[in-house]
Symmetry: C2
Subunit: 217 residues, 2 copies
DNA sequence: TCGATGCATCTTGTATGCATCATGTGTCCG
DNA sequence: CGGACACATGATGCATACAAGATGCATCGA
């Protein structure tokens, strides 16, 4: 029935719409309807409807009864909320790692180092795509080390939201990537010696820099 | 057209099913179908389907394509995950409050004291229902003080899951409520003097006691 | 007897139709 | 000229219909 793709219609509607929101083709403040998306994707309204519900749960859409779906605009307060939650979750990961047996910490630190190598290479090669992916991987790896599905899922949703904020933001400037990499390295260094306070402080620095880059102050 | 209730069919399906999962009428491991629920509530499958999707997102159901919906059984690891997340969020609230201006802290402390009064009265009256509601109110008030919608929503979902764990647990014992109340009071006391470390430690005690009550160890 | 196959049945996935509700507009009345 | 009302329009909410996948069981063959 879908014919082309092996994915269900619901999944296609979800991914397509989400992608269009995240990459900015559907700007915040836009009002879209089930019918529009259904027509575009050549499917009925039913799967689109389910995709919309999911996107609303993720905070990307806001549904208005009988009126349409509003693409939620990124507000400064949302930026704050996302960053606060990120600091909480990632900071927890750092603390927990530093309190964990040496061996466990070493494993994660090793994984993080590997990611940093990739990120360094991406920076040298000027591959923004790979750099962003490595950045994502870095933070995900950190949060995964907590082994808590609930926190991991929350974090994934936070990353998605942040993605959208980044592109709304000012140009990152050519020095941003280097700064990001340096901040990552600083965090891993603190982690390497098991200094939780230091690691958290550096995480805070990293997220503050992110905030500045996003809200411009 | 449902006529009777002012709620939408989707909302009724969601609340009813959720309630039946949380109160144990639908035990973990059960396989339910959209049709069953739709018949029971005298509505079509469509709104039930949407309710199921929502419940899956909350971690209460797990949907299997073309097979049905599994009521997720509470696992020990889920208990750990929920409690870890709760400690993280509530602990953050305590820390943030202690770092906030005296006035802000006093406002929240006042609200918490008010809730404790209610809880004390409920305990004296032997009103379990009211006691549980006050307990819920206590923790929600704490988390609300963070003013972060993302964390608040996460917390709400955590509380729901915990609800279900409690009833699967051993009898609470007549002394449990008193212990809970005492632990709450201890937390608020530490908060009153702005001692974040102390408050967090007491929160940890409280949640540990909860874990013992739930998993029995 | 045991395993493979085909079918009946059940459930979901999607499409479609209709009723309802919200909104904007044009007209009529003051 | 201004405001209220009736209606056209468009969207969702829900019901229903149908197709397709998954499962269990009976049946058949070795």
């Amino acid at each position: 029935m879908t014919g082309i793709s092996g994915l269900s219609a619901k999944e296609r509607a979800y991914r397509d719409t989400k992608a269009r929101i995240l990459d900015g083709s559907l700007p915040g403040g836009d009002l879209i309807t089930e019918g529009q998306v259904a027509d575009t994707l050549a499917m009925s309204r039913t799967p689109v409807r389910e995709a919309f519900l999911r996107l609303e749960a993720e905070g990307l859409l806001r549904l208005f009864p009988k009126r349409g779906a509003l693409v939620v605009a990124v507000s400064p307060s949302e930026v704050e909320a996302v960053l606060e939650a990120r600091e909480l979750v990632e900071g927890h990961a750092l603390t927990k790692l530093c309190a964990a047996p040496e061996a466990d910490r070493a494993v994660v630190a090793g994984a993080l180092h590997a990611v940093l190598d990739i990120q360094r290479a991406a920076l040298a090669a000027g591959d923004e795509q790979a750099f962003a992916e490595a950045d994502r991987r870095f933070h995900i790896t950190l949060v995964e080390s907590v082994h808590n599905p609930i926190l991991l899922e929350l974090y994934a949703s936070l990353r998605d939201r942040q993605l959208r904020m980044n592109l709304g933001s000012l140009e990152k400037g050519p020095t941003r990537p280097q700064a990001i990499l340096a901040q990552h390295e600083a965090i891993v260094d603190a982690l390497g010696i098991g200094d939780a306070e230091q690691a958290r402080a550096r995480l805070r620095v990293h997220l503050d820099a992110t905030r500045v880059s996003v809200v411009g102050r």
